[in-house]
């Protein structure tokens, strides 16, 4: 019995005999849309109508063994009652691949090589675009982008507020010391402008206490700053307004992240809140990636620099990365932080997997377990370790850097 060599290609399913003679050719669909669907199915190892037809014909013609390139095809072959052999890189397949353009002409699907390549390029572009679109539909990436936007806004606000304080200090230098809160400062500059407007009455309207209002208006009256015209002040006020708008945008984004995070990752959100959860996803590169990370890696996400330094020099690995922002960690004494980080990371690893693969909600249970464990840590390790007593340290195994 002769052997058949089956290969799925761009132009269709081809079957050769041992002498590399083309026995069978079931062409791929001719419309772009169907063609792309065909390519997607082959990629995922699903059975295409073309493959089914080819296998059916082989069986009719008395073939029993079929050589294929990969396990995914082999499965389909045995479903049709034929015996598959897997031999990737076999000569017949290589030659088929080499002759592909000329085979496309031989089978009459295309008239010239140019026409073939034009069509090929067109379809490959659409194929890739479709896969890109599918990728973009993942909602977790929205939360990731939003948290990155917040980080950008924070940086921008800091930059602008520093400028605003310096600029406005030409006029009213004392205010810089008196009002430390940035949004408050920007609001005063924007609402009042000229320091002669810093009256007790105006300040009371903005919600200041009598005491504070008097202090500010006194400072305004005796200020050593230069007098500025409305024309000059106007531009400072515009900057102040932009800062205020940025704060507003930041708040709306906070709300947005909360909504999205509750949808895509309810369990992670339950443990560390929407913002930290989104930040973890941002560093990992999406929910799927986070779900596939071990707890030990999650624990040090965001501390890559320290981790790799530790690996290189053999020093102490970091106890926590961005997880430090989790209140029970940064509020605890130093020697308890690593233990708490380890617990939280372990639960986060579970939560991420559930969020990505099933979506059930067990957040409340996880939170309870974390709380219990933290209490236990607080009790067991209430005192700092004596001198250089060995601290139980989480030792992430030398993790290789993942691709960005």
């Amino acid at each position: 019995m002769t052997k058949a060599y089956l290969v799925e290609t761009f132009i269709g399913v081809l079957v050769f005999d041992e002498n590399k003679k083309l026995l069978l050719n079931i062409p791929a669909p001719s419309s772009i849309d169907d063609h792309v669907e065909y390519l997607l199915k082959v990629e995922n190892g699903e059975e295409t109508p073309q493959l089914a037809e080819a296998l059916g014909k082989l069986r009719e013609n008395g073939f029993s063994e079929v050589e294929v390139e990969h396990l995914s095809v082999a499965r389909n072959v045995s479903n049709h009652g034929l015996k598959p052999n897997i031999s990737p890189g076999h000569e017949v397949f290589l030659e088929a691949r080499e002759r592909l353009p000329s085979l496309a002409l031989e089978t009459g699907m295309y008239k010239t090589v140019d026409e073939y390549y034009q069509k090929y390029h067109e379809i490959m572009m659409e194929y890739t675009r479709r896969k890109l679109r599918r990728e973009a539909q993942k909602r977790d990436l929205l939360a990731v982008q939003a948290i990155r936007a917040i980080d950008d806004i924070d940086k921008t606000i800091n930059l602008y507020i520093a400028r605003l304080r310096e600029w406005y200090s030409i006029h009213f230098p004392e205010l810089d010391e008196l009002v430390k809160e940035h949004p408050e400062y920007a609001k005063l500059v924007y609402e009042l402008g000229d320091r002669s407007n810093f009256t007790v009455e105006n300040l009371r309207k903005l919600g200041y206490s009598m005491e504070k209002a008097e202090k500010l208006s006194e400072a305004a009256r005796s200020s050593i700053g230069a007098d500025l015209s409305d024309f000059d002040l106007n531009y400072i006020k515009i900057l102040a307004n932009i800062v205020l708008e940025l704060y507003k945008l930041r708040d709306t984004l906070d709300g947005y992240i909360e909504v999205v995070m509750k949808e895509v990752a309810p369990n992670i959100t339950a443990i560390v809140g929407p913002k930290l959860g989104a930040r973890l996803m941002s560093i990992a590169g999406g929910l799927e990636r986070l779900a596939k990370l071990p707890a030990s890696t999650i624990q040090v996400l965001g501390a890559e620099k320290a981790l790799f330094r530790a690996l290189r020099t053999g020093g102490k690995p970091p106890k926590h990365g961005v997880l430090f922002q989790y209140p029970p960690i940064h509020k605890s004494p130093r020697w308890q932080r690593g233990k708490i980080a380890r617990t939280v990371a372990a639960k986060l690893a579970i939560a991420a997997k559930i969020d990505f693969f099933s979506g059930r909600f067990i957040g409340d249970k996880l939170v309870k377990e974390i709380e219990e464990r933290i209490e236990e840590i607080k009790k067991l390790y209430a005192k700092p370790p004596v001198k250089k007593e060995e601290e139980e340290k989480p030792k992430p195994k030398p993790k290789k850097k993942w691709r960005r």
Binding site: E69, R97, E98, Y127, L132, L311, P398, R403
Partner: protein, 235 residues
Amino acid sequence: MSEAVSVKPHAKYFGVYVVEMDDGSVRLATKNLVPGTRVYGEKLFRFENVEYREWNMYRSKLAGALGNGISEMPIREGHKILYLGVASGTTASHISDIIGVNGKVFGVEFAPRVMREFVIVADTRKNLIPILADARKPYQYRHVVELVDGLYADVAQPDQASIVADNADYFLKDGGYLLMAIKARSIDVTKEPSEVYRKEINTLKERGFEIVDVVHLEPYDRDHAMVLAVYHRKR
């Protein structure tokens, strides 16, 4: 902006040109396949009615390898090349210039973010084929890639040598060449770069590659090397 004084074909490398500037500096360039368009903000030069694109040695590892005198540049006109880790297509666009309209670059990239940029480049350059797939799973794109003359790999993965070899088994013809960029820090930060290179090269040898040359990419890239090898298929 400084002007090009002369453009000459490179003495050693096919399809690569040496541009001499009026300030005396010298740069590499390729003939622009799509005149008038830039890919990544590179400089364009016009000389005797032909447009050239500067090939920045700091941006492209292949240019860095040429700048450091790799023994041979095997890419020729009309070649088909499988490019693993094509990213946004900076290097691929220059390969596209060299191979011309009859060649093909099958550009495999896993990250959707940079693939989006590559698709834009491939839109105007018909010899670039975008493939959004994982280079670890060559069987997932076995149906859309032809047998190729060369393999270019810049995947920065710990197991990149075996990824490359797996792809060669499917797609690289006997006697075909390999250009592989090794980023030592991506493979193992704890080891010395030279040790990492040796390990990767040994893996390649075991899988049928004959090493022709290894060049370090200093000062263009730190702890990087480019390997040139020839593939001998096992029968």
